[in-house]
């Protein structure tokens, strides 16, 4: 009997996972992203050099802007640090900023969107007008202002990105809740004596997890891009902590831009690969979680 149980119960997510596995591009995305995450976690083991130390060459001079070689396979930067090592450590920063910022924005967006959608009336009006206001801000300018006021650091970058990007989630969640709260099982659970909180968190939210997960994935890519732009502009993650964005910052120098392409090319490629693979995963998740879109 136990065995029959195992075979027969195909939860929604088990079915979605099966559909996801059929999507080659998304699987590649997962593979690439997992390797990036692994390299970020095990950075101290993988990185050939200390990302904060300038290396000296055999003549005892700082080995600055050296071209790719067997010792430094992506060369060294303008103060003589190993680019490959910095790239690996920067992955830590960029990925964690992406994840933390998105967690913040998803939590805020989901909570506010749920309240707005579920309670409607003035709660809805207040929250959605708040969303309109936040959307109206020129985001980059706002972020620059806040992160300057709060002293730029990796944590302010996370918080600031989280605080400005929850509006899409809030709108999405509100819309989904408006749809789901009309289902009869909501009324039925109320008729069986469930509290509002229980209805929202136990009955409604699990039913709209799919769009939220997709949203979170795609937003992670977005957050990584914003972090890169901020750091590139010098208001995000600060030197000497490496991030892909502030590594790109070196491309502002004409000599480096023109003659030392590996220094800006490698973080650029890292960003592109990361964002692309996350987006592929997001698309794959969307197709898997919403069978109606079906492309088979």
């Amino acid at each position: 009997m136990k065995k029959g149980h195992k075979q027969k119960s195909q939860s929604f997510y088990a079915l979605a996972f099966r559909r996801f596995k059929k999507n080659k591009l998304a699987l590649w995305g997962v593979f690439v992203l997992l390797s990036l995450i692994a390299s970020a976690i095990f950075a101290p083991l993988i990185a050939p050099y200390d990302p904060y130390m300038s290396v000296r060459n055999d003549k005892g001079m700082l080995d600055i802007l050296s071209p790719p070689s067997s010792a430094h396979f992506l060369g060294t930067d303008s103060v003589g640090r190993d680019v490959a090592s910095r790239l690996i450590y920067a992955g830590r920063v960029s990925l964690s900023v992406g994840v933390v910022a998105v967690s913040i924005s998803i939590v805020i967006g989901t909570v506010l969107g749920s309240l707005a959608g579920f309670f409607g009336r003035w709660v809805d009006s207040v929250i959605m007008r708040g969303v309109d206001v936040v959307i109206c801000f020129p985001v980059l300018f706002l972020i620059i202002t806040i992160s300057t006021l709060l002293k730029p650091s990796i944590y302010t970058t996370m918080i600031v990105i989280g605080l400005v990007s929850w509006t899409n989630t809030a709108r999405l969640v509100r819309g989904e809740i408006l749809k789901v709260r009309e289902f009869e099982f909501v009324e039925s659970s109320r008729a069986l004596g469930a509290r509002n909180g229980r209805i929202i968190f136990r009955h409604i939210l699990p039913n709209i997890m799919a769009p939220i997960v997709v949203q979170a994935t795609l937003q992670t890519a977005q957050a990584i891009l914003i972090e890169a732009s901020l750091s590139f502009l010098g208001v995000g993650v600060q030197q000497p902590i490496p991030s892909w964005g502030n590594m790109l910052n070196e491309a502002m120098s004409l000599t480096i831009l023109a003659f030392k392409p590996m220094i800006w090319f490698s973080p650029g490629i890292a960003i592109v690969i990361t964002v692309l693979s996350i987006n592929f995963i997001g698309d794959g998740l969307r197709d898997a979680l919403d069978p109606k879109l079906g492309n088979n």
């Binding site: 009997m1 029959g4 027969k8 119960s9 195909q10 009869e184 099982f185 039925s188 008729a191 069986l192």
Partner: protein, 334 residues
Amino acid sequence: MREPVLEVKGLETVFKTEEGSVPAVNGLDFSLYEGETLGIVGESGCGKSVAALSIMGLIPSPPGRVAAGQIMYRGEDLLGFSEERMRRIRGNQISMIFQEPMTALNPVYTVGNQIEETFRQHRNMSKQEAFQKSVQMLELVGIPLPEQRAGEYPHQLSGGMRQRVMIAMALACRPDVLIADEPTTALDVTIQAQILNLMKDLKKQFGTTIMLITHDLGVVAETAANVIVMYAGEAVEYAGVEDLFNAPRHPYTEGLLGSIPKIDESCEMLTTIEGVVPSLMDMPEGCRFHPRCHYKKELCTQKAPPLVESGASRVKCFKYTDQWPHRNRRTISP
């Protein structure tokens, strides 16, 4: 004289719309005695479901509001209860099952899980205990292999099975009163009979009082002891089920019974009640049924008829009052 479990007095539920307040239920009175099955019949939009939701305190507000009346549950007025107190009553003392077994179960949880929830909410049970109780409930509502079924999701069950699960959820805490809002409408006929039998069995077993809302007179004949016929937000006839079918008093009841096709007669056209239910926004003066009534007299268009006793039934129609002209020549059978 037994005390009624639930007594509804002068219930009036209105909905606010752009064009003003609409009374969806207008002065409904009835008593529900312990162990009784009361049928409430009427066509769509006559206020049956709104009456049920009013009792549960689940009228969407706004736009809805219980404007007047009392809902006495064991001597206390539910309308005066706080939301928290009401919540503890729902599913525990008064439970409700819904029409659509397809959508009334949450698709992301196993059915066992959903029954467990009722226990955990009202009985503070441990997970283990709640699970065992749920399996028992599933067994009780006649689901084969209950232990295995408990681990399945709603989409894996048929409509009839789901309705059984709904009944299991509603009866989990052994409520005094079960309100069944068209429990068999979405099911096919053989399954309907099974579900009705199940409800009858469980009622016998637990002594649950049932308020059965339906538009199907067959269902009423099968299960109910007493019947209320509703028309346009009002109860127009209260009768025992035998009286209702043998000697319908109100012209609307007559019409309803007349519109059931007979199995032993062939006919070209089905009999219907002429006209349509008036819009709640625009109720006719006098008796609400008069524009569609065969017996209509001058009188009916002027005043609302009182509720009068006629035999064992009570009916809202001038035909049974002294004011009716030619009272001697009244005919009762349809």
